[in-house]
Symmetry: C2
Subunit: 345 residues, 2 copies
DNA sequence: GTGAAAGCGCTAACAT
DNA sequence: ATGTTAGCGCTTTCAC
């Protein structure tokens, strides 16, 4: 196989223990010996065997990220933040991305084994009691991203506030009949955004009309796709109810929704104002007003949190719930009053 | 730590060897014993320790993907293809993403250790002799993605042809003064796209004018960012040379370039036609004509190739170079003749 | 069909 | 300061 510490020990004429000590900088070694070992290691091109090391140390220099479908910009950005932190450590990143929501529990099971990873990041996982039990039984630290639970560290945003922000903005713009296109009803973030939507309406004494609320019900995708938005928008418009604005619980769905509107000759924002959620890269280019999630920063926080927990030896850090406050990004898709017609780049 | 085969052996009242046999389905075990072991394993909630297994087997069920900056849509899409294949195996995906091009060799070094991964996917790595030697010395299979070399399996596209396609399209549209914004000159794909650009011009008896060729020279990002495109476009326009079209070697740079043009009151496509490269998600939304790379499919191919090599025991498969043919996707940014003004969704 | 035992590469006491 | 040695959890001969 590869070069081992035995080879180095031979070459440098010392014991493997000494080699190990030099390589780990643990206890003190004579300067001269150290140099000799290092030199041999360099010449032989030694690279440590992580499996052997993990086995001996009973700890693994790997963190797992469990991501439901690696498709989206959201996960990519968060993962980028995670890498940003991890690159400063000696931890490697293992990606578990289940295309099917069904087998996510198997993945969690595998990822959480202490022999597999030293810590895990769980992305957008709906937390039910069974999962909580499973996670609780695990010996390795877990950080929830984009979902939350009392028993675990979590990084998320205030979705309800985000929904509220979006709708309040629309109301300020003079809109009164505001529709809602939301992701799968089981999605906790989507549901919370809906709560914000309803609260904002009630705060302004506008009745909530269930007929202009529509859910993307695709089982596989969680409803967060362009196609889902397209379909939902068409269904909504088919109902023939008058609308002057629409809040969509994700930008990617908003893209599809806008497309559907365009296909029917509905002008945005003149005929229909639109607010999305996330602020993905496309959004700035097509002038979509949206609620921004600080994805990169969320990734960094999550990784940092996990690191402190992994490195904590004696006193275990207290559990924290970090909630970012989303921000309204105003663009052309809600410039209702102004006679804007060219909203592209 | 976790449940081990010793626990199962105790519980099922057999030896650990038998447990191992059952779990691996290697040699034959009495049906009854097998059931007993399986049952114990289930009850105890056994999950194998991958480090121990790797160490004993001298092989690792992990494949590494070495990606320069996980930022881009390109890598994400390809990785999605990779995952699509990997999810059908028992291999885990380890991501090495170096934010700095400098330490990419360290990452390769680590990733290629047979104790770390059973195979590696190298993304967009400029292959120099030193790297070839390093890869050649490695015992584990390597597949190059978005770069190529005789000694290794590779998946890429015909970049030269792509550049040719782009420029030919522009010429057919009546453009004659076609500028070029390319990524970092060291980027092999960018260089090849430039070759295609030049060839297409020569094929049509149009002289190549170096003054309207500009390179994004950012050391860190490889030049493939929106910001780089923005800067390059401005620099190019500052030269004051008349242009009726521009070919940009990536969509992401094209976005920046279009933005710069817009800031100067240059209308696209009326004043300037634009062709990008990649066909990232945004492109369809802003009507950018581009050259499409089948990213998802490239990822699948790469993963498949790696799998066959990893699984090949006796006869080693021959080295193959898979080259996809890119495709022109025509959109509004090159509708020069037509009086289009609303190119957004 | 099953058990005993060696060993994968490394770390971490425990000696010296 | 350095060497010896016992595992870490698992696979894999080699016996029986």
């Amino acid at each position: 196989m590869g070069v081992t510490i035995y080879d180095i020990a031979n070459s440098a004429d010392v014991s493997i223990a000494t080699v190990s000590r030099v390589l780990n900088g643990s206890s003190s070694v004579a300067v001269k010996t150290k140099a000799k070992v290092l030199e041999s290691a360099r010449i032989l091109g030694y690279v440590p065997n992580p499996s052997a090391r993990s086995l001996a140390q009973k700890k693994v220099n790997v963190v797992s990220a469990i991501v439901p479908v690696m498709t989206t910009y959201f996960f990519m950005e968060v993962l980028r933040g995670v890498q940003d932190i991890l690159s400063g450590s000696d931890l490697d990143l293992l990606i578990f991305s289940s295309d099917r929501l069904a087998n996510i529990d198997d993945q969690i099971q595998r990822a959480l084994h202490p022999g597999r990873s030293g810590g895990a990041l769980l992305f957008s996982v709906p937390v039910n009691q069974q999962r909580i039990d499973m996670l609780g039984r695990s010996d390795i630290p877990v950080v929830l991203v984009d979902s939350e639970h009392q028993n675990f560290d979590s990084i998320s945003i205030n979705n309800e506030h985000g929904g509220h922000l979006a709708v309040t903005h629309l109301l300020e713009r003079g809109c009164r009949k505001i529709g809602l296109i939301m992701g799968h009803e089981k999605s906790v973030p989507a549901s919370k955004r809906m709560v914000g939507y309803k609260t904002a309406l009630r705060d302004n004494n506008i009745p909530v009309d269930d007929r202009i609320i529509i859910e993307c019900a695709d089982e596989r995708t969680d409803g967060f796709t362009e196609r889902d938005g397209y379909v939902a928008m068409n269904e909504l418009l088919d109902r023939g109810i008058d609308l002057d604005a629409i809040f969509v619980t994700s930008d990617i769905q908003a893209l599809g929704a806008m497309h559907a509107a365009k296909d029917r000759g509905i002008a945005i924002p003149q005929d229909l104002a639109v607010v999305g959620f996330d602020d993905i890269q496309v959004s700035s280019h097509i002038g979509l007003t949206t609620i921004r999630q600080p994805m990169f920063e969320m990734g960094r926080q999550a990784a940092n949190r996990l690191l402190t927990r992994i490195e904590a030896n004696e006193m275990v850090p207290l559990t924290t719930q970090t909630v970012f406050v989303p921000k309204l990004i105003e663009r052309e898709s809600t410039q209702v009053r102004v006679g804007v017609e060219n909203i592209h780049v």
